[in-house]
Amino acid sequence: MSLKSQIKAGLIGNPNSGKSSLFNNLTGLNQHVSNFPGITVDKKTGIVKLPHSTFIELIDFPGCYSLYPNSGEEKLVVEILSNPKHPDYPDFIIFVVDATDVRRQLLLATQIRDLGLPVLMVMTMKDLADKRGMHFETGGMSMTMGFPTLLTSNVSGEGLDELKDYLFAFRKVLIKGAKATLEDNSWGEDFHLKPGESHHNPAFQQLIVRQAGTDSKNQQDSAFFYDLNMTEKNIVAQLKDKLNAKTDYQALIQIHHSEWLEHLSHELKDEITETKLQIGFKSIPLQIDETLQRYNKFSPVVNRFLTFKIQKGFSITDKIDRLVTHKILGPAIFFLIMFLVFQIIFSWAELPMNWIESAFGSLSIWAENILPGGWFSDLIVQGVIPGVGGVMVFIPQIFLLFLMIGTMEEIGYMSRVVFMFDQIMKQFGLNGRSLISLISGGACAIPAIMSTRTISQQKERLITILITPLISCSARIPVYTLLIGFAVPDVQVYIFNARGLAFMGLYLLGILMAFISALVMKYVIKAKERSFLMLSLPEYKRPRIKNISLFVREKVGAFIIQAGKIILLISIVLWALASYGPTEKMDQAEKDAISFSQENGLGEEVTGNLIAAKKIEASYAGHLGKFIEPAIKPLGFDWKIGIALITSFAAREVFVGTMATIYAIGSESENLSVSQKMAADVNLTTGEKVYSPATSWSLLIFYVFALQCLSTIAITRRETGTWKWPIVQFLYMGVLAYVGSYFVYQLF
């Protein structure tokens, strides 16, 4: 082992093993999210502070069941752990196990150990295990398994100090190298160990040293938990020289997954495939044999060192699930929860959203007053500040939705939702997990699309990504609100308000169209691999504030960074398009406005607004609007709406602001609202109102279906890795919008 000063530990474990909680406990706020190179899987890294002002770097790997992976996230774990040259290849592994269910999790622990990586096993949820009367003899278990094992509780914090001592010991050994550590008699004293603690036992220290020495040449061939059979030995012997592997087992894993491992060259892949055929290497039967052999090897260890009383009767989880997954009550409870969730979002988010809006409004006015004028201050006042404000205003809704999704996830409810609705979703080519993404889409498509990463089958994931933007997001709400004002009279229908019903109808229309589109895609898109459910339904647990707050921080952060930068950029571009135009025409527009106002004796403020309105007509944006007018005329839209359709690409709610500018409503104007001005607008050729119910409905349908959001296009590009899918998404939604609007307009 080469000498190094920085030690990197990988945090690995099954999903729901308490891994994230442990990561949060060890790193606190010293963590940040980035991407694993070349792939869109979040990489959470953090710093663990250790005694004597030392530290190690901790990488949180995605949850994983085995080195024979299922999902893209699991594949990433194998990609990195099978390649000692990978920049994220850890120096050792902290393997996290849910103490209440040790046996099946040891499978992956032993696989990782056989890769040649030193392992420290941390059994979390000691509190739960204690409650069930489970007893672990960690000493015996450690010595038999060959890696140190300890018990912790993420709730009480028990065992965390001991864990840090272990990390310190691992760091020490890995930096010094195994050999030097053995020769140095004083190394035990550096351990910062308190006398009488189990890990003070020199035998435990030996375990660390012995593991650290694994990759030295003489022990290279040792397999610890699994003896390769003849076929496997044969193929490894043939290929090992060409593979970059520390142990035979690591070479074997590379051979198993040669088709998709990215660190293998094409020639090597071809050679491996050929050798596999020659030798008769059949991956799946070999996997089964290996898995069974591993269980046979470690099951006796578990039986020997773990004792517990057999539980009688039904646990709390059983009782809750009897209601929550009940044939009729289950879905009823789910829909009730969803109703409450969206009720809360709409009622609680309104106030902070108003604050944010007025704060940015005041900021604009303030900046306008103190800045010297000219294009730069216009950029700040009309481009940057409204752009940032346009991002911020969504935060309350996104925050609230993810707070509630995060809580349901943390408690363990979400996996029940997946279980209940998997069948329905499957009919549409989706997966039960798609439902969670679609619900998130009710806030914003960006974090929703990112959350599809947990869907293992590519086809199901792709369809989920493609249909998510059809779910009405928070940016559509202001547009719906404004336009419903024209489309629907303010009357009561039985006990309901007609406008409220129209609002709900638009939401349902989006949902309905999402499912219809999914059904079509199910038959068009081809699947490469089989689809699985096999979903673990963990015990319900009390939610931990820390985990939820980090979850929410991650999601809101994703929105601010991914969508925010694009919204801001587009806002600036659109500001430029709307502020500039061919100089001649712009000047002419201003002159016209001034002379008009002089003839009619208009006040200063009204004149200013009129100039702005005339100027936007003469600007590049105005030209664009007029350019597309022939195309959108059959939908009942004029060039003004054309401008708003274009500016909506920053974020749909920009429609409202653009309308305000076009209809010459200054921000200070209190006399007439945007909607009143829009309502008064008359079509010059026909003499009819522009915002007739027909046009308004047509426009509403357009906003339900059209993908007018560059951030979504960018995120689809990122998540699918090609431009093909964002283009498909933009086109199919565009066709839906155009055809839908056309029919609605012609219907009236």
């Binding site: 499978l107 799946i284 039967p285 089964i288 998997d422 069948q423 699985f532 459910l533």
Partner: protein, 73 residues
């Protein structure tokens, strides 16, 4: 018999698997031969099944559950 031939709350022991690819994944999750499994309930809209084993709960799709051969205890 296969897993779905069990009645509600009936327990059985896994003896074999019909589909190798599914088997390799089921083993990973701990559904080993000789494991005692209990059928709990069907999902509200069908398609998925709630199974318990070793004190843990898991949801399996129809085809996944059908591939598990069990014998009554």
């Amino acid at each position: 018999m296969h897993l779905l031939q069990l009645r509600k709350n009936e327990a059985a022991r896994i003896i074999d698997y019909l589909d190798k690819e599914l088997a390799s994944r089921l083993l990973t999750l701990g559904l080993l031969p000789e494991t005692k499994v209990k059928y709990i309930r069907k999902a509200p809209f069908g398609g998925a099944h709630y199974i318990k084993f070793n004190g843990h709960a898991i949801a399996l799709r129809e085809n996944e559950a059908l591939s598990i051969i069990v014998e009554k205890i």
